[in-house]
């Protein structure tokens, strides 16, 4: 499903591991937002695994950017990992790769 919280392996360092849903389009936007909001207040650091994302449109990009903006404002951390090719393509169209922190680690 959508932003799902993984087993809390990194809880000790306060990092929340999330799996992004395959659908990051307008059709799931509302749901995605609700889910991310749910975890946002609980943690100071987030790692979103983007490997499952099949479809992403401007609303999905906006959501990622909004998370990014909020974390920056609140002194929290956001890292994207295993970004799928469909997301990379969109990021390159908009030239926003540099907006995010990337990682390839689990």
């Amino acid at each position: 499903m959508s932003f799902t919280k993984r087993k809390d392996i990194k809880k000790d360092i306060g990092c929340c591991l999330l799996d992004a849903s395959p659908d990051m389009t307008i059709y799931s936007a509302e749901k995605n937002l609700i889910e991310i909001k749910e975890f946002y207040s609980e943690f100071d650091s987030f790692e979103i695994n983007m490997s499952a994302v099949e479809e992403i449109d401007i609303s999905g990009v906006q959501l990622l950017l909004a998370i990014n903006k909020s974390t920056a404002q609140d002194g929290k951390k956001l890292v994207l990992s295993k970004v799928s090719t469909s997301v990379v393509e969109v990021m390159d169209v908009l030239n926003i790769r540099s907006h995010f922190n990337w990682t390839n680690q689990e």
Partner: protein, 743 residues
């Protein structure tokens, strides 16, 4: 090995054609630039043309061409990048450089010996030296400009503000700025698709996504759009094409499109129109490469200075709002698109150039020989199809006949489109004369403007090639002898600048090329005196005015008091006349003393296949070109008694008996038959109507013109022959010469 050589030869042929085209293009661009000096698009095209020549010459190892064009290209490159400004001297230098390139290319293609001649080398070196001077001086001038623009930036007077306003900035790409409305995603649009599409009409150089409007997580409505986009696009397309990309969201977004090298003031206006803070948006523009840092500070300075003047002006009225948005023009607010700039810049002329360029790109180069073969084959096809039609008629099978009729129709269409392949617009040939007029008028110290009309008139390529020299001669003649010096013109109450018109149009089966000037006109007294002196006419001969005018076509006739290097060797006009004769054309001259002279050339449209009108005289078939046939009427016995003319609805029209012209005895036998009546085919040529009396009208017939053998070539009244479906030969009637005979 021989294969390789063949390939090379073929490649060289393509290079020859391509470079000739490009050089001609470069020349006409330069001439256009003369009237429109700041046109960036033209300068770009110019650079590209010379660049392509250099590249292609490099492939063939034409070192002389490469080394010369390299320097010329650098100069053009600097003009393009606004590091050098075009002036008259530079313009002449570039024109000479193009001539030199053309000579070098010709040399490389034609001469076996690798060394270029001394004179060519000397001219080349001279030109290179001058080109180099421009390149060297540029370094100095750039620094001058820099200091100059700085001082202008800090000065406050209105006049200097104006000059900054007109200064173009260095961004050579389109700048597109999009702010989507909040509801755009909810309306089912994905802005991403528009950006992806942009890459198909050009190349996105840079893309900046603005997140300044994006709310934080707790405030965001995920179905609304908050992002802004600044894009730099490299494309040859027009503004319309770019704004069409956003057609679907045009009501759902604020779109600003700035053309390449927009002016400082345009950027100022643009920055003001955006919702973000000026400084922020300015920095974004710097990041996206639309502006350099210096340019941004200039823009902001300009803005501040302009705002200051606005305040000063408005103080009395207390319009304080204007401080923040001083330059917001009303249409900009309404449309969000500043169309005015482009409309101003692109005048009709360039649009035409653009159009013709687009057509050019769709061309396929075909060997002329292949085309000739095809046309010959189509000719045979037409003859065979006529034969088939005849045979089908004889069988009296309706179905077969219907099928054959369809076939004939198709063959006709094939014939038309095949012949069309050879048709080219005469405009390209005409444009070449612009340069001739420019150079010649400078040499002669006269002011002359060449006006070209009907450049899109089409005619057979072979005709176009052969007509170019005669036209050139007539134009030079007109420039040299016809047009007076500015002083004389002013003294005679004419405008200082003379006008030479070059015009082409279709007129019943022929193409008419008219060269007219508003010069001195032909002086009949001088012409007669000269003709008597040269022994062309005798002293007591009485000539009509048109006859006197035609004297200029007599061999060995030249009236210019001094022989100039432009025309006046006395071999010109009769050669012109002969050339046009060879094309089955005619030339006539009209002139009025003190008002001007015009030469009118009439040429047949094509030399291969025509629509004919078949008639019978006695037992022989004749073909009259259908385009020249006006109507067919019956010859009234009563009228024939009056003489060799009839009353055609109140108009006197002479007529000729084809039987007596061609001494056809069979015809008189037919006439003796009971109830036979003669028909008149009314033909019209050059405005004159003549009747041709024939025994029988057979109707329309596709005529493949077969040239007559040498023995028959000088026969008057016959222009060729054709083969009928039955295999018989029919004579094609030369209407122009018969019309001449009737009057």
């Amino acid at each position: 090995m021989s294969d390789e050589k063949e390939h090379l030869a073929e490649g060289q042929k393509i290079f020859e054609e391509e470079s000739r085209d490009l050089l001609q293009q470069a020349e006409s661009i330069l001439l256009m630039l003369e009237d429109d000096i700041g046109n960036d698009e033209l300068i770009n095209d110019l650079f590209r043309a010379i660049h392509t020549i250099k590249g292609s010459a490099g492939i063939f190892g034409f070192e002389d061409v490469v080394s010369f064009t390299h320097v010329a290209e650098s100069v053009m490159g600097q003009i393009r990048d606004k590091e050098l400004t075009l002036n008259e001297d530079l313009m002449n230098l570039l024109l000479d450089s193009i001539d030199q390139t053309s000579k070098l290319v010709t040399h490389e293609l034609n001469n076996a010996e690798p060394l270029i001649s001394d004179s060519l080398r000397e001219t080349g070196e001279g030109l290179l030296k001058r080109l180099q001077q421009y390149l060297d001086s540029n370094i100095l001038t750039t620094s001058n400009i820099l200091t100059k623009s700085k001082s202008e930036t800090f000065s406050e007077t209105e006049a200097q503000l104006e000059s900054i306003e007109s200064e173009s900035l260095s961004n050579k790409y389109w700048h597109i700025s999009v702010r989507f409305n909040r509801n755009v995603i909810a309306n089912g649009m994905d802005p991403l698709s528009f950006f992806r599409y942009l890459n198909t009409i050009g190349h996105v150089i840079s893309m900046t996504t603005l997140t300044s409007d994006l709310p934080l997580l707790q405030d965001i409505n995920p179905e609304e759009s908050y992002l802004g986009f600044e894009i730099n696009l490299d494309t040859q397309e027009s503004k319309d094409v770019i704004s069409d990309v956003f057609e679907f969201v045009k009501d759902d977004c604020q779109l600003h499109i700035l053309p390449p090298r927009s002016k400082l003031s345009d950027y100022t206006r643009f920055i003001n129109a955006l919702p973000e803070e000026n400084m922020l948006i300015g920095e974004i523009l710097v990041v996206s490469g639309a502006l350099t840092k210096n340019e941004l500070s200039e823009v902001l300075d300009y803005q501040r200075a302009h705002a200051a003047t606005e305040i000063r002006r408005d103080e009395n009225n207390n319009f304080i709002e204007t401080i923040t948005k001083p330059e917001l023009s009303p249409e900009m607010v309404e449309n969000g698109i500043a169309d005015t700039h482009i409309v101003d810049v692109a005048n009709k002329k360039q649009e035409k150039v653009k159009k013709s360029k687009k057509i050019e790109q769709q061309f396929v180069r075909v060997n002329a020989e292949k085309l000739g073969d095809l046309i010959n084959l189509v000719g045979e096809l037409v003859i065979t199809s006529a034969h088939t039609e005849l045979k089908a008629k004889e069988t009296e099978q309706v179905e077969l006949f219907e099928t054959v009729e369809n076939l004939t129709r198709l063959v006709e269409e094939i014939r038309d489109s095949t012949l069309n392949l050879r048709m080219v617009q005469i405009g390209d040939t005409f444009n070449r004369f612009t340069r001739v007029v420019r150079d010649t008028s400078k040499d002669l110290g006269k002011k002359i403007e060449l006006k070209i009309l009907g450049g899109d008139t089409e005619l057979d390529k072979t005709v176009v090639e052969k007509i170019s020299d005669p036209i050139m001669h007539l134009i030079r003649n007109s420039l040299d002898h016809g047009i007076e010096t500015p002083n004389v013109r002013i003294a005679n109450g004419k405008s200082e600048t003379a006008i030479v018109n070059l015009e082409a149009y279709h007129d019943s089966g022929s193409i008419v090329i008219k060269i007219s000037d508003d010069g001195a006109g032909l002086n009949p007294d001088i012409l007669t005196a000269k003709a008597i002196e040269k022994g062309i006419i005798s002293a007591h001969q009485q000539l009509t005015l048109p006859e006197i005018h035609r004297l200029i076509f007599a061999p060995g006739f030249s009236t210019a008091k001094e022989v100039t290097n432009i025309s006046g060797r006395g071999v010109g006009m009769d050669v012109v006349n002969r050339n046009i004769d060879a094309l089955h054309g005619q030339i006539s001259v009209n002139s009025e003393l003190g008002v001007g002279t015009s030469f009118i050339i009439r040429l047949p449209l094509t030399l291969a296949i025509i629509d004919g009108f078949q008639v019978l005289v006695g037992e022989s078939a004749y073909v009259i070109p259908l385009d020249l046939v006006e109507e067919c009427i019956e010859l009234d016995e009563q009228q024939t008694k009056k003489g060799e003319y009839i009353d055609l609805r109140g108009e006197v029209m002479p007529y000729l008996h084809l039987s007596s012209i061609f001494n056809d005895d069979d015809s008189s036998n037919i006439k003796k038959k009971e109830g036979h009546r003669d028909n008149i085919v009314v033909v019209k040529y050059a405005g004159q109507k003549v009747g041709l009396v024939v025994d029988e009208l057979l109707g329309e017939y596709q005529t493949v013109i077969k040239p007559l053998g040498k023995v028959f070539q000088n026969l008057k009244g016959i222009s060729g022959a054709t083969i009928l479906g039955s295999g018989e030969v029919a004579i094609i009637i030369d209407v122009p010469s018969l019309v001449g005979r009737a009057f």
